[in-house]
Symmetry: C2
Subunit: 281 residues, 2 copies
Amino acid sequence: MTPPSERLSLNQITTNRWSVAEAAEGCARAGIGWIGLWRDKVADAGGAAAAAEAVRAAGLRVSSLCRGGFFPAADQAGRAAAIEENRRAIEDAAALGTDVLVLVCGGLPEGSRDLAAAREMVADGIAAVVDDAAACGVRLGIEPLHPMFCADRSVITTLGEANDLAERFPAEWLGVVVDAYHVWWDPYVEREIGRARMLGFHIDDWVLPLPQGALLGRGLPGEGCADLPRLYHTVSDAGYAGPIEVEVLSESVWATPGEEVLARLVSEVDVALGAARTAAG
Amino acid sequence: MTPPSERLSLNQITTNRWSVAEAAEGCARAGIGWIGLWRDKVADAGGAAAAAEAVRAAGLRVSSLCRGGFFPAADQAGRAAAIEENRRAIEDAAALGTDVLVLVCGGLPEGSRDLAAAREMVADGIAAVVDDAAACGVRLGIEPLHPMFCADRSVITTLGEANDLAERFPAEWLGVVVDAYHVWWDPYVEREIGRARMLGFHIDDWVLPLPQGALLGRGLPGEGCADLPRLYHTVSDAGYAGPIEVEVLSESVWATPGEEVLARLVSEVDVALGAARTAAG
């Protein structure tokens, strides 16, 4: 199998200070062939067509677009607006030349404690846009988030739950994105990877202590205690051979020059994923 | 069913500045009939016999002792020491007159990423002490912790996993403790409560943002977004009728006078758990 270092994608939030063009050019210099984009950065670049051109000019391909989702809302108008926004995200993904839109499904509506209702709002939202996705040739990848984000970012918390949700929709257009940071702790993660319709594999690492707010404390692959080799070999055995996207939300990584982060990723990822040839091999 | 306000137990970490005697006397004044003790506070009180006397003098009963567990360790000596410490905890529980020792099972050993090995160390540790527990008439309650504590506090993260683990041991001596803060997000929590050997029900609430380190940011019942009425009714329907233990690790609650915290708990808990009579009832 092609080693991770040759299948790397830079999810651009890892180099959050860089524009789309800067990130694409940085990847090209570092020998990284894929990039995962974020919609806010795409908008800053002048929209999907301009961002697509910047990526093409650097010789890269777009592995995924972050993000759709955030379906739950306190009222019908809010839910309808979220659905419309997801339609725009699907169009952006198609215009960017990627067939994967990552869904961060959304947390509890303001003031609500009703998880079951919020989860149904997610399912209803996906149902409302799946035909649009199919029409654009874009697959929707449900990314279960770590349960510590259940209240404010994703009521879809485990890979099992994401799989159950994806299976309510056609296999051609709905799948899941497995992110190491979000799933590493799960005692059933291997079983669930085995049945997942995997549309993406994100790598990053669990480091302690968690920062205030818990969002921006991830580590680069290998820096923490998530068993990335176990996850890498499990997703590989399950047949996933697509891009491996590095997605690190971290104040300290963001404070490091992007060139340095990328060089380190390329040189260390095979070891971090347990995929490096041994000295004897 | 007896309402929660008449089944309240103060887990003493909620009033972390109080000694055992202060907490017991505070409960007596507030009309709270149970207390959950911590071993460090019991030691500060002069040991289990002295702490038991202080609790008896206040007219209270001990609902549980926190905590045994922390079984994984990097070497055999460390694991053996943990097992010995659990034997002392079991003896303490018996001396305090409670038949429930709460197990916080422990995280990854220093430097390890091997979750499966750590989980087996937990099972091995329980196996090593279950006869001691039976000899003392003390039941061991596995408390699954929120997955954000997987690395450093408990590799047992979901109620499903805790149930699976408990079922490897005799029903008479092994069960689980359900803590709202740790399980509220779980899409399968109702099913798992249905099959749980419940030895305790802890209440507290999920409030945002998480503080640095994530440990001391819990809310009092009703302050956050955990659906406590759903959990209360689910555990009640499953037959749990024991003490309802309030366990709030929170810098801001600790900064509030204990009398005030207890008065608020007693007056608000029935509403927070959806168990209050309506005005018309």
